[in-house]
Symmetry: C2
């Protein structure tokens, strides 16, 4: 029961941090607005997420692979817009 | 040796994703620019990071507690600026 609660909280934490990028992507795409983002933030974030996927592959953890792959898919288009509009 | 490499990659992944917020905070603070950020993104992210800290406390994982606490400290001021400038 306690372990179940722990895992639920961890799962919910992963859902929230991963999908936080979704409303941002929808807004940025609709309004073509990525001005406030710095390239440093986007490169560090996507670089870090890529290492998380690699880590997930190495330790064979599906949640780590899955959550971070989804996050990469949400942030790559924002990086693309930033580079294009720079 | 292989385990050491795995842990190094995981550690580096944590460093990059956690500290990606630092250049963003420095830029946003200096230029008073948080316009492109959506409140939804910031609330979901900080909510998720808070759940990660709670998860870290429950499973007694210092890296999870530490990395996510640092990230919260970097994103709370950006959320504060966003609310103030809205």
């Amino acid at each position: 029961m306690v372990n179940e609660m722990k895992e639920t909280i961890g799962f919910l934490a992963g859902i929230l941090t991963t999908f936080s990028g979704l409303p941002q992507l929808l807004y940025s795409y609709k309004h073509k607005d990525v001005k406030s983002f710095t390239l440093k933030f986007l490169f560090l974030l996507i670089g870090g997420l890529t290492l998380w996927v690699l880590y997930g592959l190495l330790i064979k953890s599906l949640p780590i692979i899955l959550f971070n792959s989804i996050a990469i898919c949400l942030w790559i288009p924002i990086l693309g817009m930033k580079i294009k509009m720079k």
